[in-house]
């Protein structure tokens, strides 16, 4: 089981390596490069577009949702605060209204009575500093409080006129005669009989500050009150000094309802401003928050979203690259393997049909050849044995040359039959060294005679072959013989054997002879291809060798360089399976 997994891994691994440098890219296989680029692009588009759309949508909708939620929160808070502030003034105005309804002018005119009223109001509502009663002409006829203001003339003052007109009045914060920020609320009472008067109360600012303080806003937020001219009425921290013009925030437009707007603020730090015009007063309530603070939730979410998006991008790009590359690399490898297999098959089929043709020709020629041989032999016999034919010496020479030619033809047909013959493989076990020694036995004499250096380099521990010894002898005899013919006297022939992998050995025969041209190299295994036709070569040696090597389940390769020499390499399986006769030609 684990061996199987190992096999699978082994088949996969080289392709993973090829991801880095895909072979179709290296080979410049255009069609594959095109498909590869197209599939990467398509995959990337198909996966990135929806992702981008989705992330954009989520981004925008989340931002909006959080923004809206914050706007609502500010609205709610502002609105509640407005109600509190409004009721603060209303309560006190109502207290004054109640007082003027219940108590008569003549009663209130007396300061000791007024002091009693102030005491009750302070007890009931608080935040009231003093009380004053002003008659219709604007003279303060009665006063109770920490200052001595009886008899003061308010007729010229704005608030007195407004109170007279409107019946009730809430003033801005102002310093007044006493130099302390304060504000006044006043109500007018009139019975239509010239007994009109105004009851005025001064409120200290602590009351409002307390309300605003009770909101418990964070460090960077603030709630304060301005009047309709933009003058700050309660401490605003950073948006301007008390009783001065508000800075950094534009005057909010009038609205009956609570509103929220966004503004640039100072130093490009956007602000969210909630505001409300407080009815029956000159006040505008402001609630200012820094946008960066209230959008804090959003920033966390946004960061997660961006990390998710970037992470996905990396993964998608990786997948978009790896999958098409892996698949197209596999496809390419498969196609190449197939092309090689087809090529080999074609080669084998071509050689096989040539073999059949050759065998047919050989058979048909052999019989007439035998007849020519005997007839010519007979003529020669006549000349040799019978006196009457001996007269002409030329005749014998002619016959000899006929017989010689017949002999050559015979050699060709014999080899042709050998080429076509597909006798079965019979295996035995023997060391590689032994086969080569068998072959060299035939050639040692020639080697020493021609002074050819034979170098044998057989790897130590080379496993013994399980193969057909006779065929191997023939293969190496052919190859070494060729090498002998290629080298000049005093040349050199190297024979090397080593393992290729656990299942194959390679035996190479190299010479430093004349070499073979590129053009001839391609035809070298074709039957009848010979460069030494003149000297009696049949051109069958290498095609027979090729057939034999294939028969043993091996491969033969040739490399050559003109003038430098030639190397034939035979790669053989260490164990050849015994094969029966498949030959179509026998008889």
């Amino acid at each position: 089981m684990s061996a199987k997994v190992g096999d699978i891994l082994r088949t996969i691994r080289p392709r993973w390596v090829a991801l880095y440098r895909p072979s179709f890219w290296v080979d410049r296989a255009r069609r594959y490069c095109y498909i590869w680029a197209l599939s990467i692009a398509l995959l990337a588009v198909v996966s990135l577009v929806p992702l981008t759309l989705m992330v954009t949508y989520v981004y925008q909708s989340s931002e909006q949702a959080i923004y809206k939620e914050n706007v609502l929160r500010i609205l709610r808070l502002t609105s509640n605060t407005r109600r509190t502030v409004t009721s603060f003034f209303e309560q006190r105005l109502n207290a004054l209204r109640f007082t003027v309804q219940v108590e008569s002018y003549s009663y209130l005119k007396r300061s000791d009575h007024l002091a009693g009223v102030l005491k009750n109001l302070k007890y009931g509502f608080g935040r009231i500093v003093d009380l004053g009663v002003i008659d219709a002409s604007g003279i303060q006829v009665a006063y109770t409080g920490p200052f001595e203001l009886t008899g003061k003339d308010y007729s010229g003052q704005d608030w007195f006129k407004k109170t007279a007109e409107q019946g009730a009045y809430v003033s801005d914060v102002f310093l007044g005669y006493r130099g302390v920020p304060h504000m006044i609320v006043a109500v007018r009472w009139g019975n239509g009989q010239g007994e009109d008067f105004v009851l005025r109360a001064t409120l200290d600012m602590e009351g409002l500050s307390e309300i605003l303080h009770s909101l418990e806003l964070s460090e960077r937020s603030v709630s304060f009150i301005i009047n309709r001219d933009g003058i700050i009425q309660t401490p605003s921290r950073r948006y301007g000094e008390l009783l001065e013009k508000m800075c950094c925030i534009p005057m909010p437009e009038y609205s009956e309802h609570t509103e929220v707007f966004e503004t640039g603020g100072e130093g490009g730090n956007p602000l969210m401003v909630g505001y409300a015009y407080i009815a029956n007063s000159p006040f505008i309530l402001l609630l200012v928050k820094e946008k960066s603070e209230i959008m804090q939730n959003w920033y966390g979410l946004r960061q997660n979203l961006i990390i998710f998006f970037l992470g996905s991008l990396v993964v998608i790009f990786l997948v978009c690259y790896v999958i098409p590359t892996y698949m197209i690399e596999s496809l390419y490898a498969a196609e190449q393997t197939q092309a090689r297999a087809i090529h080999r098959l074609e080669e084998t089929a071509r050689l096989a049909s040539l073999g059949r043709l050759a065998a047919g020709v050989a058979h048909e020629i052999n019989n007439p050849l035998a007849i020519i041989n005997e007839k010519a032999g007979l003529i020669k016999d006549f000349i040799t044995f019978k006196e009457e034919y001996k007269r002409d010496g030329r005749l014998e020479g002619l016959i000899d040359s006929v017989l010689e030619s017949v002999e050559r033809c015979g050699a060709v047909t014999k080899q042709l039959l050998g080429f076509a013959r597909h006798t079965g493989v019979s295996v035995s076990t023997f060391p590689v060294r032994q086969v080569i020694a068998d072959v060299l036995g035939f050639l040692e004499k020639e080697a020493s005679y021609r002074n050819i250096a034979l170098n044998l380099d057989i790897q130590d521990g080379l496993p013994p072959l399980v193969s057909d010894r006779g065929k191997l002898q023939q293969i190496f005899l052919n190859l070494i013989n060729n090498a002998f013919q290629a080298v000049n006297d005093g040349g050199r022939i190297d024979i090397a054997a080593k393992t290729v992998d656990a299942e194959r050995v390679a035996v190479s025969v190299s010479d430093n002879g004349c070499g073979i041209s590129e053009e001839n190299l391609q035809k070298i295994f074709d039957p009848f291809f010979s460069t030494k036709k003149g000297s009696g070569g049949t051109g069958l040696g290498l095609s027979i060798t090729h057939g034999l090597v294939q028969r043993l389940g091996g491969q033969i390769a040739v490399a050559s360089e003109i003038g430098k020499g030639t190397t034939f390499t035979v790669t053989l399986p260490i164990e050849t399976k015994e094969v029966g006769d498949e030959g179509p030609t026998r008889g």
Partner: protein, 120 residues
């Protein structure tokens, strides 16, 4: 030394017979297996030169029958298209030698002489 030459190529056997005659052999010819067996049946033939591929009865069959009926008779196979397998089979059946066509007359007559010594 009486030699029977068996081959369907009559031109071949005729010429060969004459050549062997010149070399002192007493040569007979047959163009097919059955007539060869018939001639052998008449007696007096100790050596046979036999082709393998012939119509009607092939050389292997003729060889088998010769060796059955006249085990002492020596047979030399001369064929135009024999392979290793044929050689092995013929030698197993008791052939004296296995030669390929075209023949070398010296080789053939030498072998015939050797074979004759076994017969005689």
């Amino acid at each position: 030394m009486r030699v029977l030459l068996v081959d369907d190529e009559w031109q071949f056997v005729e010429a060969l017979a004459e050549r062997l005659q010149l070399r002192g052999f007493d040569a007979l010819v047959a163009y097919d297996g059955p007539s060869a067996l018939e001639l052998l049946g008449q007696g007096g033939v100790g050596l046979v030169v036999l082709d393998l591929r012939m119509p009607d009865m092939d050389g292997l069959e003729v060889l088998r029958r010769i060796k059955e009926s006249w085990p002492k008779t020596q047979v030399i196979i001369a064929t135009g298209h024999g392979d290793e397998e044929d050689r092995r089979q013929c030698l197993e059946l008791g052939a004296f030698a296995f030669l390929s066509k075209p023949l070398n007359i010296k080789e053939l007559s030498g072998l015939l002489k050797e074979a004759w010594e076994m017969v005689a």
